[in-house]
């Protein structure tokens, strides 16, 4: 149970340096460099805005917001969750040299890889905040919840990656399976529509169980909807239980597979 924590002892500096290296590796050698970290999400956002707002919805407002403002915080959370899930799962395989060629605390690979994504997330959040200001959403006390949602989201996907990264390193098929599932999860999550507006019991159950939807909604509550995280205690309890279960599962999977990784990678 303790091996992941033990591996992180006194490794803080190393993890930060490797996170930096990871970022550089991702955007190396291209003219625009780190700019790509912004261009790609901006383009995605534009395409969805165009398809839904101009195309399908034809400029109608949603919950009192323009469609663009409605999807903006949701996408900012989604970009991180998507990267943390897909790239996080690939992290050990991608850094297999650390597993195969030196004695290395493998679980820290997951940490520095997700930290690199978090850095991009901070940048995007800052830009989103400015855009919201321009749209007339002025700073208020609810915005401070970012400092709860963001670290919790980071931790949540960190413990998820304990399982997915080790399993993906063990079997490439698992990684492919995960990638396929993520496309589905995007549409099941209330990013381009409002899940709480659906009044069907079993749909609501699924929505409540979907952690992606929790964070998407959380970001919306924080930045545009002015709601507190404790206003829906049922959801809060569900996500906390999920977090604990995933953490236990992650520690179990890591412990079970860690020692076989150098043999199969």
């Amino acid at each position: 149970m303790t091996s992941i924590f033990k591996e992180h002892k006194n490794q803080f500096k190393k993890i930060l340096i490797l996170a930096k290296t990871d970022l550089r590796k991702t955007y190396r050698g291209s003219f625009i460099g780190t700019g790509w970290a912004l261009i790609k999400p901006s383009f995605t956002l534009f395409v969805y805005w165009f398809a839904f707002d101009i195309g399908i919805r034809q400029g109608r407002e949603i919950n009192g917001h323009s469609f663009f403002v409605f999807i903006l915080p949701a996408f900012i959370a989604w970009f991180f969750m998507n990267d943390a899930t897909i790239l996080g799962a690939a992290s050990i395989r991608q850094n297999s040299q650390y597993v195969k060629k030196m004695a290395f605390p493998v679980s820290t690979i997951i940490t520095f890889s997700n930290l690199a994504k978090l850095y991009v997330h901070f940048m995007l959040t800052a830009i989103m905040y400015i855009i919201l200001l321009l749209f007339g959403y002025y700073p208020n006390i609810y915005n401070l919840q970012f400092f709860l949602y963001c670290p919790f989201m980071f931790l949540f996907f960190l413990v998820l990656t304990w399982s997915t990264a080790t399993m993906s390193a063990f079997s490439r098929d698992f990684q492919n399976l995960l990638n396929s599932i993520m496309t589905g999860i995007f549409w099941l999550t209330g990013i381009v529509y409002d899940t709480s507006a659906i009044n069907i019991k079993w749909v609501q159950v699924i929505v409540y169980l979907n952690p992606f939807d929790f964070f998407v909604k959380g970001y919306r509550d924080t930045f545009i909807d002015n709601r507190w995280f404790f206003e829906n205690p049922t959801r809060l309890c569900i996500i906390l239980v999920e977090f604990v279960l995933l953490a236990i599962l992650g520690m179990y999977n890591y412990k079970r597979l860690r020692k076989t990784l150098p043999d199969v990678l």
């Binding site: 590796k25 650390y98 597993v99 060629k101 030196m102 004695a103 079997s171 076989t260 150098p262 043999d263």
Partner: protein, 241 residues
């Protein structure tokens, strides 16, 4: 031989590799332990004690388990059963360029690799200049590693590994670094370390190489220790097989 406690201990070490038939079998193995999977026994009840300051040669044919043994000493691989205890910092002259970041300069990589090997800032600063001297990279040290030739990378890798003040040095003889002059420099450095009471594990196919460096040799065959003792006798057994 030294009288102190052993620095490397193998206690009844077994290592079994699972040979998955295909990726389907591997995927299923994630969720369900099948008994049908073929296995390869790489190490079979291996027990070794190596003391501080010893230089030990590991000999044997391909597939004898030498690499597996080395990987366990360097902390990369783990035994299926049994115990491996290694005390002290291991420098492995096996994968010299592992852990380099292409986009960083040679100097930055010294730090990166230093952190990877478990050193802290002040420890790296202390050895930085001797690494740069040893690697003979000149002004290239502040250029990104992606601009290096393969020889330059190996030199830098060797220089870093050898200068981290290891207590245990693991050497694969198949390793050849740079031109003849540099190779001699490496050999001399290794001998210097041996004289400083560093424990050396040396893997080789060549008898002369082992004789030159080691007093003790371990002969492995199909994962089992056939002989462990004086290097001359070990080589005799090895050639008599």
């Amino acid at each position: 031989m030294s009288v102190s406690e052993p620095i490397i201990v193998f206690e009844n070490v077994y290592k079994t590799y699972n040979l998955y038939k295909d990726s389907r079998e591997q995927f299923i193995a994630l969720f369900h332990k099948s008994k049908k999977i073929k296995k390869h026994q790489a190490l079979n009840n291996v027990s070794i004690k190596i003391y501080e300051g010893e230089s030990v040669g590991i000999i044997g044919n391909n597939g004898a388990g030498k690499s597996t043994l080395l990987k366990m000493i360097t902390g990369v691989a783990f035994p299926t059963s049994g115990n491996v205890i290694v005390k002290g910092r291991v420098a492995a002259l096996l994968e010299l360029t592992a852990g380099f970041s292409e986009e960083m300069t040679g100097r930055e990589n010294i730090y990166l690799k230093g952190y990877l090997l478990g050193l802290n800032d002040s420890q790296i600063k202390e050895i930085e200049s001797s690494i740069i001297d040893f690697a003979e990279l000149g002004d290239y040290i502040d250029q990104p590693v992606r601009t290096y030739s393969s020889g330059m990378r190996l030199r830098l890798g060797f220089a870093i590994n050898i200068n981290t003040k290891p207590q245990i040095l693991v050497i694969d003889e198949a390793l050849a670094v740079g031109d003849a002059t540099f190779q001699n420099k490496c050999k001399n450095k290794i001998k210097e370390l041996i004289s400083q009471n560093v424990t050396v594990i040396f893997v080789s196919h060549s008898k002369n190489g082992v004789k030159e460096i080691c007093k003790r040799a371990i002969y492995l065959k199909k994962g089992e220790i056939i002989f462990d003792g004086d290097v001359d006798e070990a080589l005799k057994v090895y050639s008599a097989k």
